[in-house]
Symmetry: C2
Subunit: 231 residues, 2 copies
């Protein structure tokens, strides 16, 4: 049995707010238990870290320039949509520049180093409430070939991002040869089910998942360009 | 709060087994409630429907021919890996032909019509245990750009596959302009967290998700080729 518990009580976040401290209080109030994974949407992290820039609401050209500034590389363009590689290596729409849930005249960028952001939140929880919980920073990405968005992990701390079952056996005794599960992406997607896009919920606890503790980074999820058939 | 409850007690499945009847019993024993979504991995559906073919274990050429037979189109090839479009329109590795969890000398294909398979299970639950639950048939797909696999929906019944928030507003009052959530894929990914790749668990109940009832088909998740930048 897995439980996904929404974290409430963290309100609107602005630059310099002590997000990690607020999360620690809210996580304790939500009754966190050892083994829970804390998922935090990146938008509150970006806001607290000041990764918010001015952007006129009706200026597609300014938006395009901002996306190009944020991008390390452009993968595809169609109309105003740019599929870009971020400095972290993630490939997503508009290099992660997002105006939803941003104040008028602004846009939200990805955190500068989402793995570091995740580690900071994890460390703060350890110090403030004495709990060592893995932390996932999530964002909402589109996919080629499939309509609709799903949440994925862009930062992790304390959890191995990929569950490597290669070399294991299935229940027929046959060797599982290609089975690396992107478990942090599945956890991020699961957490999104209680968060929603329009709500004030910015975090959730996911309880009961069998994960491997460790110091992985979300950038391990990036498929190396030489293995990637779709760049 | 969302709960994900594994369904146990459905054993090894072979052609002609009354999978829907077995699921109905197991779902009732698991204490299903109105509003739960039942997620079933496609492999048991394929096995019950006889979508299993003979395939020598060490014959890459026979494997390649089988994949090409199952594919409607080939998107990319690299070595023995073929990214193909299935007859349903899904784009995935090896057109869904899979040997893990298959008996020696065999391979499992995708169900012929996974939406129909989902509707049959839903109808059977209604008749046998008097519960009207949405049903999702899941499979494990890779992604371009990101390592690792996640579960997605390949068949649905009784649930709208995409939650369309376009035209809604975020908590800042700003219109959400591009926010279609692939909610059935997020539910499938969440369910995978209790199922695992090597276990005998073939189904889960997902409780507490806000979804829209309806008669959508998983093929609605396929991005139309003319909108797709990565074919």
């Amino acid at each position: 049995m897995i439980g996904i518990i929404p974290i409430t009580g963290v309100g609107e976040i602005k630059r310099g707010d002590d997000l990690a401290g607020m999360l620690a209080v809210a996580v304790a109030e939500a009754g966190a238990e050892a083994g829970d994974v804390l998922v935090v949407t990146h938008k509150v992290v970006s806001k607290a870290e000041g990764a918010v820039v001015e952007l006129p609401d009706d200026d597609p050209e300014a938006y395009r320039r901002l996306v190009e500034t944020e991008a390390k590389g452009i993968i595809r363009r169609r109309g105003s949509l740019i599929i870009a590689e971020t400095r972290h290596g993630f490939i997503c729409a508009n290099a992660g520049v997002d105006r939803s849930n941003a104040a008028a005249g602004t846009a939200i960028l990805l955190p500068y180093d989402p793995d570091r952001s995740a580690r900071r939140i994890r460390d703060r929880l350890r110090h403030q409430i004495g709990m060592e919980l893995p932390v996932i920073i999530s964002d909402t990405f589109g996919r080629p070939w499939r309509r609709g968005l799903t949440d994925v992990a862009i930062g992790v701390a304390g959890i191995r991002p990929i569950l490597d079952l290669r070399g294991g056996t299935d229940h027929m005794g046959r060797t599982l040869d290609v089975t690396e599960v992107a478990i942090v992406d599945e956890i991020a997607a699961a957490a999104d089910l209680v968060m929603g896009k329009a709500s004030m919920r910015c975090a959730a606890l996911v309880r009961g998942v069998e994960y491997v503790e460790g110091d992985g980074e979300a950038t391990e999820l990036v498929r190396p360009p030489e293995e990637d058939m779709f760049r």
